[in-house]
Assembly symmetry: C2
Homo-oligomer: 435 residues x 2
């Protein structure tokens, strides 16, 4: 993502400034932000003024500065409005309502009605989830600054189209337009790999690091890349489809129909298959589904079950060899591993994986391989989807553009509350409709 | 590579402007450049003025513009100075002298003295090559604007250090500093993957496309990535080490000591090995070395030799599966394949490889896979190395910075030739020493 105009630079610097405020455990001064971003104090002060004016930030006390004027601290104005993050998965959806500080206010999970779902089923379920969240919290639609929606597969982001789904036999479904007919709010569509990566950039390892690869290991497997602090999308937003990279020529059959894919080894199904190879009669295989097998393996390994221990060892080897390829290609500062496999198998898996990566990385003196588990709390997909909505809100001309002056004038005419943080529904303008 | 300041933008726009002049088959107008780059006419005019002032560009005739004022055409001022590109390979070096239009003026190839070369051997050989080129063309050192040096392996570019060599048992050799003691010119060190990619960006597929992956297939195998028109280097300049990505878990032994690496299948040695598997007694295996085996396979396949045809078919399958992984991860606009294998096996290899990539790309409707052979003429490594020197010259503060004014004044005082293109040694300032 190359910035080519002064406006692009301003946008990027605005994001960086705000990311620092989100990343900090407590309110921060403009000086702190300047130090952390490398921007000049004047630039930070200018951006902070704009973000205060838009009520995205608010002042939150002062810090001493060794005899000089006390420095004002800045925090996110959590009450400025709400954001929605929606994670559409194979068997159901999770919808979460966030304040502007990206704190979860409420969650709802709804199953999808059947195995072979139609677009209308997904739309109905998402709308039901959003309506439940807003009703339960008494939130008027006008307070929703935006909703991010994650749908698996190939997404044409700008058009808001689900181009291909790995689960359902649909193609080129204009999901954003279908949702827009029912939900009066700005909508942003992307896929779970991109959402997880953005969540990591704002709230995980990416808070301190600009070049990282984020690998997700669950039923599906994939990667997201942040390059110089920006999400890398590729020519058609399908970069990071790592799960069907060949790890073992003529190896295991993958559900995609090909052989030897990474996903056939290091997904939930891959772990179950490895266990079946290690111990075809293992009682752990009787768990209700493949995710449950992974959980059972984790528990059994902790108790020393040899088949479970061996399953983790083999999985670490597969994963290490596959991740070494990502290290060699991208040369990231850090590689972050998340998803059910990483969460459940955790250090026993990661420790052995680190060893395998070090052994298999490019033929050069092994350097420190920084491989760590994701620290993003809760569901990174819905959090990342909400972050897309936050980014969209920050990109919106109405938030910082010429409309601002008109809004300021109208507000001043009303009550003179212009400088008081804490948005009320009456003050929030209906957001511009994107879909 | 994110531009963060107005100066960065100016630098990037200067590169883009100049790339368009280099890419055009004939002199181009400012209007053409504006149309091709997306920059405003005013910006292009401004940058062109600066490049004319620095004598990097020159005016080259006019074009009619439908009744209005005729438009001046711009061309690279080839005589502004010379550049050197040096390709250090396993058994010898190639050094090339270029004019500023990157036309080869003269080449020299010198063998390295022995198999296990020392840094001093490389330095001596490079210095000998440079001295031969300058002597044969009567070029004073002061006319050399810069020399790019490509050395295989891991290069710490900013420090000019060869950190790791795949061929020689050296580590952390300060090659640039060693060369600088002997050569009085700005020096730029990088590796052949990066050099080939930069050559492709300026003179190949990258002339029209900003997102591409460039794969090199010869004794070694690797990839280079251009992202949004900028070379992607990774955290420590080692991105693109694709040759030792695992293609076949527990597969062929690789010379790196691991098993199943891409390089064990689609390098010159890999092709020879495949032929030996197809037909252990093939007379083609008696060629003098592995490069000669590849050439023999190409000739024999053209004549219908079944073992050669089968060798290409298998190689295409290995390559297709491996390249599908790159397509899935990077989602480039185009993937360019170069190096001896692509040059010799050419369309018979590429056609079957395209089919294999399409079959093995991510589980989504197969889209048009743009896979093409490199069109960079001659040796892309030495050309790319010289391009690094060109980029360094364009980046040099002395070329466009405050020194410029002083140089202009001195020049005006001398002869008043300020506006006449065509540099003479007397006019060229000794370049600032970088090493």
């Amino acid at each position: 993502m190359v910035e080519r105009t002064a406006q692009d630079i301003r946008r990027r610097n605005r994001f960086d400034t705000l990311r620092r405020v989100y990343a900090a455990p407590a309110p921060v001064s403009r000086q702190d932000i300047a130090a952390a971003t490398g921007l000049s104090f004047a630039t930070v002060a200018n951006l902070a003024a704009e973000l205060l004016e838009a009520e995205v930030l608010m002042e939150a006390g002062h810090e001493e500065s060794g005899g000089g004027r006390p420095r004002a601290r800045l925090a996110v104005n959590a009450d400025r409005g709400v954001l929605l993050g929606i994670d559409i998965a194979e068997t159901g959806i999770q919808a979460q309502l966030f304040d502007l500080a990206l704190t979860v206010l409420r969650s709802v999970e709804l199953p999808l009605p059947r195995a072979e779902v139609e677009p209308a089923d997904v739309v109905d379920t998402v709308v039901a989830g959003v309506e439940q969240l807003l009703a339960a919290t008494g939130t008027p639609t006008a307070r929703v600054l935006g909703a991010g929606v994650s749908v698996p597969g190939l997404v044409e982001r700008e058009g808001g189209v689900s181009a291909f789904s790995p689960y359902w036999s649909w193609r080129d479904v204009p999901l954003r337009a279908l949702l827009a007919e029912r939900l009066g709010m700005p909508l942003y569509l992307d896929n779970p790999l991109k959402a997880s990566t953005v969540a990591e950039m704002w709230f995980g390892a990416g808070r301190d690091i600009d070049d990282l690869v984020v690998v997700t290991l669950r039923a599906g497997v994939g990667a997201g890349m942040a390059i110089d602090g920006a999400l890398y999308r590729g020519a058609t937003n399908s970069a990071g489809e790592w799960g069907h990279t060949c790890l073992a020529l003529d190896g295991r059959e993958c559900r995609c129909g090909k052989r030897g894919c990474v996903e056939a080894y290091v997904s939930t199904a891959g772990v179950a298959r490895t266990l079946a190879e290690v111990s075809p009669d293992s009682p752990l295989l009787r768990a209700r589904d493949e995710s449950a097998v992974v959980e059972a393996v984790a528990r059994a390994a902790a108790e020393g079950d040899p088949a479970a221990v061996e399953t983790i060892t083999r999985t670490a080897r597969y994963l290490g060899v596959a991740l070494a390829g990502l290290f060699n290609l991208f040369n990231p500062q850090v590689l972050v591993v998340g998803g059910l496999l990483a969460d459940r198998l955790d250090e026993p898996l990661l420790r052995q994986t680190r060893d395998a990566v070090t052994r298999h990385a490019a033929p050069q003196p092994p350097r420190a391989v920084r491989l760590q588990r994701s620290t993003v709390p809760d569901n990174p997909v819905s959090l990342g989807a909400a972050t897309f909505a936050l980014e969209g809100f920050l990109d919106d001309r109405d938030t910082f553009g010429p409309v601002k002056a008109g809004r300021r004038a109208a507000r001043a005419a009303r009550t003179g509350t212009a400088r008081q943080p804490g948005g009320s529904p009456a003050r929030a303008q209906p957001p511009r409709h994107h879909a």
